[in-house]
Subunit: 255 residues, 2 copies
DNA sequence: GCCTGAAACTTGCCTATACAAGCTGGATTC
DNA sequence: GAATCCAGCTTGTATAGGCAAGTTTCAGGC
């Protein structure tokens, strides 16, 4: 309901310059690829020091609106692909946010030797020990999610002593590695009979499956989770925005 | 396959400070909520000027790793929800990237008066003119997507003269409003017979549906698109990373 | 004990200057 | 004509100083 970019901070000089440039860009006045006034020109226009202009433009560059080339100038960035930013939260938190009551049933919980496929996924030698858990999450006694998870216990100390019904693996892992990386795949599937039964799904009801690989900052796979939701009771949603780059990636010419 | 945060730019002084702080955070040495050395302390440690430290910390704040409070200090940001960053590209581009051949069939193409529900979606008075199009996209003669789209022609001049088979609405809209905002919802559905037939789906095959509302920067709804994919032929995937905030949002305490 | 106010700390922002490094275009030279 | 070099533009980075504004703490006065 709220329109985004409306409350731009024009209280500061940087904010004024930022609003000016961003306005020209999103308003379409400066087309992608067009040259933006140089720092010197903006200094003359706004009467500020060059550093002030520089930081305003640098911020817009980090956000993906501008592309700057040393020696050449500043340009409106080509419109890159849009990106869906969807939050992936703990089921318990998500339910709590809606004011619901969360409960969790443990379906499976064992330590087993990694199969060939699992070992490849974790980039470990086959036969390595892996913790496997399968949990059924309820919202107000209605099943909402099956969590099928593999964890490398060697990389997550203490995880073998965790009681999944008391503390979620998501929260536990979050505590151990607060800033993980990884990839996720979202697909529509027709789950097998047992899954349909556990989630109390209708005869023709599809499921939304989120498969998630979580890595430590050093690249090692910590956990692989398959989250299965009934299609009529769960949707994934998020905002759409241009992709944003980290400060370290500015130098990277990815095309 | 590539591990992220490894190639941090330590070539500059800012990069050194950034790498030092970020390393402590992702390494778990500084837990969320912990106090980060003040700018003055880091100045003493690295022997740089305060502005250098300031900009390094400010960048990490914009990326969501730190939280800074004027008068109090700098703290490791609480681990916020992870965010799935999934690219939403033009079908034609996506197919071209895979080296496939793209073709498009127009199923419906008309201008009609908005129903009550549609008018509410677009925040327009009922009965307003809306362009409606329904397209079937093929990859190498295999149907991959049904695009069901509504557009407000008053906000997108020239769209009524567009031939959807020649230029995609996605590309056309991108040219008109390069930096749109909006929301998207992803769900698993069991589509009706006609859709199943058009997409040549199996008898029990579910579909992945992406519903997308695109707004102009001023908040007005430009287009609503429903994209339907066969569940066995399409997945949505993306990277997982902490949410990133725009520079303008730093002041916003969202909790 | 309680309130007040000043001091000391924090971050936010701006200025002015300086040097490095990269690109462009034109004058010079061969 | 073609290659070369240099002046003049661009951005990237760092420095040193200053003021504003917010929080905490503690001493002093009531």
């Amino acid at each position: 309901m709220e329109s985004l970019r409306l409350r731009e901070p024009t209280s500061s000089l940087q904010g004024e310059i930022r609003a000016f440039v961003l306005g020209k860009i999103v308003g379409g006045e400066w087309a992608p690829g067009a040259r933006v006034p140089s720092e010197t020109e903006l200094v003359a226009r706004f009467g500020t020091s060059r550093m002030t202009v520089h930081h305003a433009l640098k911020a817009l560059t980090a956000e993906g609106y501008l592309r700057r080339v040393k020696g050449l100038g500043t340009f409106v960035a080509p419109p890159r692909a849009h990106v869906l930013h969807a939050r992936l939260t703990d089921v318990a938190d998500e339910i709590a946010e809606r004011g619901g009551r969360h409960r969790c049933e443990v379906l499976d919980h064992d330590v087993r030797c990694a199969s060939a496929a699992e070992a490849a996924l974790f980039q470990l030698p086959p036969g390595e020990r892996l913790l496997h858990a399968r949990l059924l999450h309820f919202e107000n006694d209605t099943p909402l999610q099956i969590e099928d998870r593999l964890i490398d216990p060697a990389r997550v100390p203490g995880v073998e002593d965790l009681d999944p019904a008391a503390e979620s693996y998501f929260a536990f892992l979050m505590g151990k590695v607060p800033y993980p990386a990884g990839r996720a795949v979202v697909r529509a599937v027709m789950p097998p009979m047992e899954t349909r039964f556990l989630l109390r799904m209708g005869p023709e009801e599809p499921a939304l499956e989120v498969e998630r690989v979580t890595r430590a900052p050093d690249g090692a796979v910590l956990t692989v989770a398959r989250l299965i939701y009934p299609g009529t009771r769960y949707v994934l949603s998020g905002e759409i925005a241009p992709p944003v780059g980290r400060a370290g990636d500015i130098a990277g010419d990815d095309e």
